[in-house]
């Protein structure tokens, strides 16, 4: 039996959930179903949609929202947030080192070829010093829980994590629909996230910027799956939402085209991948980027958030070294554990993985979004064998992890209230002044019974995440 965050307590109901549990017991199922429907209408009307790539039917879909909140106690959260802060500090130190002195490679903490031959490694960055030496200003670290005590980090998402708009809108819809629940539970607020984000972005402005730096959000455009989030954040931050064609680089300074002429840009919160940022430096066919942007970046006239080349820490094989990385840079033991990981590039590990493939989850090292992975226990024999073939042909490309018994939270499904597996993505902001984390994050839930895949592109939903003061 997986750990259930409401029920798995020898004394009955776990304490953060007591009020919600009695509310669920007393609330008629029809009322809950109606409320769920209302929430859906709300989301659809304000246009919180996402696009699924390769989906011909509706190019805009809603992520299902579950009205039963996922709840953490303040004590649990404090431990989590300490662990997150530690992890992000180490990530920043690691990336700075990789593009600088390479102490960790020289000390043999992590194999050099794993870093230097990584497709996300950007040699350009070895000649660029970022303002304030921060690389990962925004991290969306995926956490899973397996029992009352144990949280694992699943992924670091140091590139361009998305989903924070759902964290904010989920809270908003819960406040609108169930104000009474917030009277009985002291839920820590999350709405200051956008203020924190703006403060973080301003703090990392280049030193040549004015006291009130011009911050913009660079989006690939309306056809991007996360476009709603881009416009939502720009709106809440009060910054311009720009596309590549709105920007122009002149004499190593980035400008945006406005109705009053060109205006200098100091900080770019970019939601465009590295490869598409600058056709002169990376993919020459990119229509999404800005020619000359990397030149301006190198000259220190613009800050990019997140920095270019942070993907090197997103690699799942590099991930497996995180405990060593934390020890190396901070001299501390990791507060949040890594999921035990077999690196298939190592022959012994590969042999083990092939032998136990029916028990393991095998992932591509560069994969994301739940694509290109095998969940051994859920796959049939033919699928497993086909995957094993790929694994043998290209072992460096894979890692394997045990199938974790992810914790479950009660969820409203067609049959009533039933346990469903969840994960958690808190958002960690690293500024030049300090690290900021709002209490909570995005809880994703696998709505299909028994499913462990929470990705929205694969039938996952979301929940409001509460940190309660008791």
């Amino acid at each position: 039996m997986p750990f259930d965050e409401m029920h798995s307590d020898p004394a009955g109901i776990r304490s953060p959930y007591r009020d919600i549990q009695s509310w669920l017991e007393s609330a008629p199922l029809e009322m809950l179903a109606r409320k769920r429907h209302e929430a859906e209408l709300f989301f659809r009307r304000i246009g919180i949609t996402f696009a699924v790539y390769g989906d011909k039917e509706g190019s805009e879909r809603l992520i299902p929202f579950d009205i039963v909140p996922r709840i953490l106690s303040r004590q649990e959260w404090q431990r989590l947030s300490r662990g997150l802060e530690q992890r992000v500090k180490a990530l920043n130190a690691f990336i700075k080192d990789v593009y600088g002195a390479r102490d960790c490679l020289n000390a043999g903490i992590i194999p050099a070829e794993l870093v230097l031959q990584n497709p996300s490694f950007r040699p350009e960055m070895t000649r660029i010093r970022t303002a304030h030496d921060i690389y990962v200003m925004i991290a969306g670290i995926d956490i899973v829980r397996v029992d009352a005590e144990t949280f694992y980090v699943l992924e670091d998402n140091a590139r361009t994590p998305s989903g924070v708009s759902y964290m904010l809108e989920n809270r908003e819809v819960m406040l609108r629909m169930f104000p009474e629940l917030f009277q009985n539970n002291r839920v820590l607020p999350v709405e200051n996230y956008t203020d924190d984000l703006l403060a973080t972005l301003k703090s990392i402005a280049p030193r040549s910027a004015t006291a009130d730096p011009n911050v913009v959000l660079l989006t690939p455009g309306v056809y991007n799956s996360a476009y709603y989030e881009h416009s939502f954040l720009a709106d809440k931050l009060g910054i311009e939402l720009v596309e590549g064609s709105d920007l122009i680089v002149n004499g190593d300074i980035v400008y945006m085209r406005t109705t009053e002429g060109l205006k200098r840009v100091d900080v770019i919160y970019r939601r465009v991948d590295d490869e598409f940022l600058d056709p002169l430096a990376f993919n020459p066919h990119s229509m999404l980027g800005v020619a000359g942007l990397m030149g301006a970046y190198k000259a220190g006239n613009v800050s990019l958030t997140n920095a270019v080349g942070t993907g090197v820490a997103d690699d799942k094989a590099v991930y497996s070294y995180m405990p060593e990385i934390i020890r190396f840079y901070l001299g501390e033991e990791a507060i949040l554990k890594n999921v035990p990981t077999w690196r298939c590039r190592e022959p012994d590990a590969l042999a083990y993985v092939l032998e136990h493939i029916s028990e393991l989850v095998v992932k591509e090292v560069h994969g994301s979004g739940g694509y290109g992975m095998l969940v051994g226990p859920k796959a049939d024999k033919a699928t497993r064998e086909a995957f094993a073939e790929k694994l043998r042909a290209n072992p460096e490309n894979y890692i394997a992890q045990p199938t974790l018994a992810l914790s479950t939270v009660p969820t409203l499904v067609d049959e009533g209230i039933a346990p469903r597996h969840v994960d958690l993505r808190p958002f960690v902001l690293s500024g030049a002044d300090k690290i900021r984390i709002v209490p909570g994050g995005l809880t994703r839930v696998a709505l299909r019974e028994g499913s462990l895949v929470v990705n929205s592109s694969q039938g996952g939903g979301t929940k409001d995440t509460w940190v309660v003061d008791q």
């Binding site: 311009e240 939402l241 945006m256 109705t259």
Partner: protein, 314 residues
């Protein structure tokens, strides 16, 4: 603000205004077409509708014959006509989505729900008479709400001025086109002895800009063609007259000049068009040729739109 944002706002308003104008044109055409021919005269209302919408060529590429069904299909629902009501709403929503941050929540909600509703409407059913009327009423309702919401909720800054400029430029263009297509029925010499036959045509012109009642209030007279022309061209109190539109265009461009601290061709050109209208008399216009006057106005209005684009939107 970003030039692209201003451009999107400007065109968003133009598409909304265009959708409303198309709805009115179709409404009036079906009203006239339903009259016995002794009252409506011999003109083909459906041809006029296509001409007023300025898409004669594209219509004939798509259809061989001007039938009510074809015109309704083309102007209201056709996915291939970029200027159909359906496409106006689609494009408006697309623009709105691209500039959500420049819109108020209420503006976005109205345009997004209109678009959602449009997805759920079945074009087959809408083509029938009563359903069509209801559809056109819905379009007018939606655009009025959008306009009202913009007026009531937007900050009075450049975003608002660009949005208003889009409405006014499109509205002036539409009024001018209606006059251009119908000018022959407004010329004094076509008034038949004993009068009356063209009454419905003149009334229709007024109705297509929702001005029949206000005409009565201004002139306290029966519908006379030169007064209709006077009303739609020169009367500043008539919100769809060319003079009123240009009074507003000059005002909004002046606001922009003040807030940006400089002015350019858009301001100069629009002031010229506006003063031409203010100095004109309806007698003078008829002497010089109503058709010539209108054609010249349409060209001038386009130049102002181009100047706005060049000065601010690119």
């Amino acid at each position: 603000m970003l030039s692209r944002t201003a451009d999107n706002l400007f065109w968003l308003s133009r598409y909304i205004e265009r959708a409303e104008n198309l709805a009115r044109i179709l409404d009036v055409a079906s009203r006239l077409a339903n009259l016995p021919s002794a009252y409506a005269g011999t003109s083909n209302e459906w041809e006029s509708a296509v001409a007023t919408a300025a898409c004669v060529d594209t219509f004939h590429d798509a259809f061989d014959e001007v039938t009510p069904e074809n015109v309704i299909e083309f102007l209201a629902f056709s996915p291939t006509n970029p200027g159909s009501i359906r496409n106006c709403i689609e494009t408006a929503r697309h623009n709105a989505r691209a500039v959500r941050t420049a819109l108020t929540v209420e503006m976005w909600e109205i345009i997004n729900s209109a678009w959602l509703e449009l997805q759920s409407l079945s074009a087959e059913r809408l083509r029938s008479g009563p359903e069509l009327a209801r559809f056109l009423a819905w379009v007018k309702e939606m655009t009025l709400r959008f306009d009202g919401i913009a007026y009531r909720t937007m900050l009075r800054n450049d975003a608002y001025y660009f949005s208003r400029l889009g409405f006014q430029i499109e509205r002036a263009d539409n009024t001018a086109r209606i006059l251009d297509v119908k000018y022959h029925v407004l010329l004094p010499q076509t008034e038949p002895v004993g009068g009356g036959l063209d009454y419905f045509q003149w009334a229709a012109v007024l109705r297509s800009v929702s001005a029949l009642t206000s005409y009565n209030w201004i002139y306290r007279d029966s519908v006379k063609p030169w007064l209709v022309a006077d009303f739609l061209i020169l009367r500043e109190e008539m919100p769809r007259s060319l003079a009123c539109c240009y009074g507003n265009i000059v005002r909004f461009l002046d606001e922009l000049a003040v807030s940006y601290g400089r002015q350019g061709d858009a301001q100069r050109l629009s002031r010229r068009v506006s003063s031409d209208l203010r100095n004109a008399t309806i007698e003078g216009i008829f002497q010089g040729g109503l058709h010539e006057f209108i054609s010249q106005f349409i060209v001038g209005n386009n130049h102002v739109a181009q100047a706005i684009t060049k000065q601010f939107l690119t």
